[in-house]
Symmetry: C2
Subunit: 347 residues, 2 copies
DNA sequence: ATTAGCACTCGAATTTGGTGAGTGCTAATA
DNA sequence: TATTAGCACTCACCAAATTCGAGTGCTAAT
């Protein structure tokens, strides 16, 4: 919106300098510091004048009279937008770290979260791919013993769901076979959304005379698919927030950490992120912009990765507003393409 | 060891009173308070004398000269031992809360952790049952498509493991059938420990000419069983520690919370707890006694629950040393028998 | 347009003194 | 002999007073 032009080259430079130093120190930055730091040779007085302007425009603010300035959310926003526009490159290294022993997706994602946390010194989260528009690839019932049947369902992206079904009366092998046929022919290739109560009712009907016995089975299958629609979220480096004084007073720490523990709120973040279709798949929420109320004093940077089949997951970094956006964006992009690569190769 | 007798009835009562009040207030407690509080009518001066003795014996200590006394680890220990000996009763309520929608074990355990955390205001953890000496109940390979096979393994206690196996060359249906037979006849009823490399080699041999193709399968199966031997741990109420000033300074909070996040340390706690065969299955670690270094300023109370088949899991409560042991022990015993009941019914 | 200079502001850190809870010791008491 | 009252002393804690300094806005000189 009001970019470079609207601000004036020099004001822009100064703002940039202010944010940069603040990112490093975490302390309000004063005119004198900037006058020495920046390469444009200006006295502190001049800087002060410019600062006064920048403050009026809402890009920076004073915690109290006679303190230095800190960037406002609006200031951060400008800064990040600039970064996002400029940087679009680089991705190697860190590759090897990940590939070893990553045959199980679960492990892979946990590890991704950990690597990212170590790499950035912020708190991180990685969600399992959500099966929006996911399709059933394979479905099978097997007898475990006389009273128990296990249903195995494989979804696109090789996500596996199980459900053990307790039978009141035993099911003959022939009937089991029939059921399997029926299930496979009917449900194979269907997306989860397409399986509704009507369909299930029709299936029960087709199952014919066994329908009472069989009812459970369908219910169980439907249940296995539906219920387990909860997204898993792995977190790491939560305690990194203690490294940033502005987040580590009891109040804030408590809020942030509990958001991390009760994954509910993170799930919201994930769904919201996924909903928002973006070009690069990277989003930055600064302060109040975040969907997670508990993190209103943080910045949250998210990226989506894809798994083919339209399955998407989210990676997120949560840190103080003065996070090192440059580094974070870079790391996130790397990891994003790592994951994309791995999944598209191995699936 | 040095119980009632060695201490003298009156000293014991005073110690009890000190601990009790300290549990409530969290503040060092002085002689005057005790002289008013306890029913033995003694002046503060007398109490002071006794306190001096108790301190010399190591049951209480002074944070600094001219402050009240607080219980030492040794003092807590005495107190807890007394409690454990006396109390062995009561368990109802709270039952209904749990049973709803608890068909999946995972959910059940998560919920257990949450209920317990709400109930006690401490941090809690619940581990999934560890499959020490667990046996294979059912094993099956199924073709998902031409290149992929899914292995499903059901262990005692209905723990399910999956593994997707990518094939280089397709496997005929007949061979699949043969393989299934072989696996089931050989492995059914075996405990995980009994499956070693030798056995797998023999199996590969029996598979005959397909052995090269089939090798992968066995490796994968073995892998699925072994690798996933990691115990899952669910935590809840981590942020409760912020309610106790003595634990919520940055340093401590950081340590404790990170122990909760990187489950590694908790896993150690679990295994150690399970190893220790106790009569009631309840253990109390005070301060330094705990196996988890990060929790050296806490008390940790654990209980084990059983699942038949020799599978055991752990429930734990982590709080300040001045935790309400009475309440905690009671709650833990309840939950313990809840879980026992539920599992023995539904399995 | 830039800068030097100065008076002023205000948070943070330091100092100071007072308060009170708690102690140990001693001497009086039952 | 065990208990208690009394007293001097200690020391963490709090609040007010003080100092300090980084930073500002404004004005006048360059």
């Amino acid at each position: 919106m009001l970019a470079r032009e609207a601000l004036g080259e020099r004001k822009l430079t100064i703002l940039h300098a202010i944010i940069k130093t603040y990112l490093e120190t975490g302390e309000p930055v004063g005119s004198r510091t900037i006058s020495k730091y920046s390469d444009l040779n200006l006295s502190s007085a001049t800087i002060r004048n410019e600062m006064a302007d920048l403050e009026e425009l809402g890009y920076i603010l004073q915690p109290h009279t006679s303190a230095g300035r800190i960037p406002s959310d609006k200031g951060y926003r400008l800064y990040v937008d600039m970064l996002m526009k400029e940087k679009e490159q680089e991705l190697n290294e860190m590759q090897e770290q990940m590939l070893e022993k990553a045959d199980k997706m679960e492990h892979l994602l946990k590890q991704a979260a950990r690597v990212l946390a170590n790499n950035t010194n912020y708190a991180t989260m990685v969600s399992t791919p959500s099966s929006s528009a996911n399709r059933i690839k394979f479905i099978q019932l097997s007898k475990v013993d006389e009273e128990q049947i296990i249903a195995v369902i494989v979804l696109g992206g090789n996500v596996i769901k199980n459900k053990i079904i307790n039978m009141e009366e035993p099911l003959s092998n022939e009937n089991l076979l029939k059921l399997n046929m029926l299930l496979n022919t009917t449900l194979n290739g269907m997306s989860i959304e397409e399986i509704n109560l009507g369909l299930i009712a029709r299936l029960k009907e087709q199952a014919g005379i066994h329908s009472e016995v069989v009812g459970n089975v369908f219910d169980a299958v439907a249940d296995a698919i539906q219920v387990d629609e909860d997204i898993q979220i792995y977190t790491s480096g939560t305690t990194n927030i203690f490294k940033y004084p502005e987040l580590s007073d009891k109040q804030s720490a408590q809020e942030i950490i509990s958001a991390f523990e009760e994954k509910q709120q993170l799930t919201e973040l994930v769904t919201q992120t996924l909903a928002q279709e973006e070009n690069t798949g990277i989003q930055v929420y600064i302060g109040d912009e975040t969907p997670v109320q508990n993190m209103k004093d943080c910045s949250v940077v998210t990226a989506t990765y894809e798994l083919g089949d339209g399955m998407k997951g989210t990676i997120g970094i949560i840190g103080p507003k003065r996070m090192d956006y440059e580094h974070v964006l870079k790391s996130l992009k790397r990891l994003q393409s790592e994951l994309d690569a791995i999944f598209h190769k191995q699936v």
